[in-house]
């Protein structure tokens, strides 16, 4: 059994529908990751005795465990405690929470990348705290933060396929459903691969270019 063009074309609309779900879910998860990551980063930055250590452990733990197991845990455990969410919502939350740990580290390293001399200069000029942040530190930090975030967004887009295993109806899940009902996996799974590549490769090229443009040249 080899490639069947007609079959491939007939399933394309369904797969594009799946891709749309994947993109929407990724974007929703990105919003969660950005917001939650900021909270985590700020709390760690403030060095509040116990709380900062707890969030430090949170980052380590989330980064040290597989997304799939986290997704299974949320999908099977939450209903036991009366929290019943759809696979789509569960998936979005898990992906967002997972990447909040990476996003928090991006914020942190972006701010740490700003040279010590910049802080010292601001102090020497007795610049108040607010303009030190808004005029000196953050504009420089953003240059390294944006490309790093971009790379994680692409990673999130690809990792969202894992959520098909908790029956979230995204691209890979649509392909698996077609495959098991038609007994043909070659076309749907190959198209899925092409669609992922068609989105992530141009995005990666774009971010590489952005990175070069934003780089601080001395």
């Amino acid at each position: 059994m080899t490639w069947d063009n007609e079959f491939a074309l007939s399933i394309l609309p369904d797969l594009l529908g799946g891709l749309w779900v994947t993109i929407q879910a990724t974007m929703a998860a990105i919003v969660i990751a950005l917001a939650l990551g900021l909270v985590v980063a700020v709390i760690r930055y403030l060095r509040i005795p116990v709380l900062s250590a707890v969030f430090g452990f949170y980052v380590q733990f989330v980064r040290g465990t597989p997304l799939l197991v986290q997704a299974f845990a949320a999908f099977y455990i939450l209903p036991d405690y009366g929290i019943v969410l759809s696979p789509l919502i569960t998936g979005i939350i898990v992906l967002g929470v997972n990447y909040s740990s990476y996003t928090a580290e991006v914020y942190r390293s972006g701010i740490e990348d700003v040279g010590k001399g910049q802080w010292e200069a601001a102090t020497a000029l007795s610049l108040p705290v607010r303009p030190t942040w808004t005029r000196i530190v953050l504009p420089q930090a953003v240059r390294s933060i944006v490309p790093m975030l971009g790379n994680y967004w692409i990673q999130m887009f690809k990792d969202s396929a894992i959520l098909s295993l908790i029956t979230m109806n995204e691209l890979l899940n649509v392909a698996q459903t077609i495959g098991s009902s038609e007994f043909r996996y070659l076309e749907p799974l190959t198209i899925v691969g092409i669609l992922f590549l068609a989105v992530s490769y141009p995005a990666a090229v774009l971010i590489r270019r952005l990175e070069r443009r934003l780089a601080i040249t001395s």
Partner: protein, 235 residues
């Protein structure tokens, strides 16, 4: 919790499979990383181009998609592999594509003086790469390789979806038998976490062990230590 202890032999079997995937996958990843990474630096288009396509395709698609493709679609082209083989192969192809870029980046970032010195001394391209550039680049590769290995460990959980009886699969099995969802998944998360912490300790240790300027760093002066001295310790 007692149900987990009751079923601990199942988890133990799963853990062994996960560790096998990790070790075999890492070794194959290293082979693929150096092959593809060096090929991508070749001056020959016919060597460089396929390597670039391989790297971009495997970095540009999800590992779970690759896993399903090799497990479900490849048999339709007449090549049928058992789940475990698919698992090791896809883990290595996927992480190998990432690590190939690490290899390339580390070698490319060597100071041009090293290459120039080799040319001046009449050292050919193969010896130059094997004896001069690659050995120097390894310390620079280690932190990134560490990330790749921890990533590989986490990705081993995906092979449970193609009938490999790893830790995650066994966990699901116990959940199906006992219904103890909280205990099962908490245990799984803790085991994976402990494994990845151990792995990153191992990486940290090897970074210190193979650092070029190990002695200098400890003194705060970034001196390139001499071969005889560098093994002596931190004084």
């Amino acid at each position: 919790m007692s149900t987990i202890i009751e079923h601990s032999t199942r988890l133990w079997e799963g853990l062994l499979v996960t560790l096998q995937l990790l070790v075999l996958g890492s070794v194959l990843t290293l082979v693929i990383a150096f092959t593809a990474g060096l090929a991508r630096m070749s001056r020959q288009f016919l060597v460089r181009f396929p390597a670039a396509v391989f790297i971009e395709v495997f970095r540009g698609t999800s590992m779970i998609v690759q896993l399903f493709w090799f497990f479900f679609a490849l048999p339709m082209l007449g090549i049928e592999l058992p789940g475990f083989a698919v698992g090791v192969l896809v883990l290595a192809l996927n992480e190998g594509a990432y690590a190939a870029e690490v290899v390339r980046g580390a070698i490319k970032s060597r100071p041009a003086g090293q290459t120039e010195a080799c040319i001046a001394l009449g050292i050919g391209p193969v010896t130059r790469m094997r004896r001069i550039l690659i050995p120097q680049s390894i310390p620079a590769m280690l932190p990134a390789f560490g990330n790749v290995v921890v990533d590989l460990l986490k990705n081993t959980s995906l092979v449970s979806a193609v009938t490999v009886l790893d830790l995650t699969y066994k966990g699901q099995e116990i959940r199906a038998i006992t219904g103890e969802t909280t205990a099962v998944f908490t245990t799984l998360l803790v085991v994976y976490f402990v494994l990845s912490v151990l792995l990153s300790f191992l990486v940290k240790w090897s970074e210190r062990r193979f650092a070029i300027d190990r002695v200098g760093k400890a003194n705060g002066a970034r001196l390139l230590s001499l071969p005889g001295i560098s093994r002596g310790g931190t004084t």
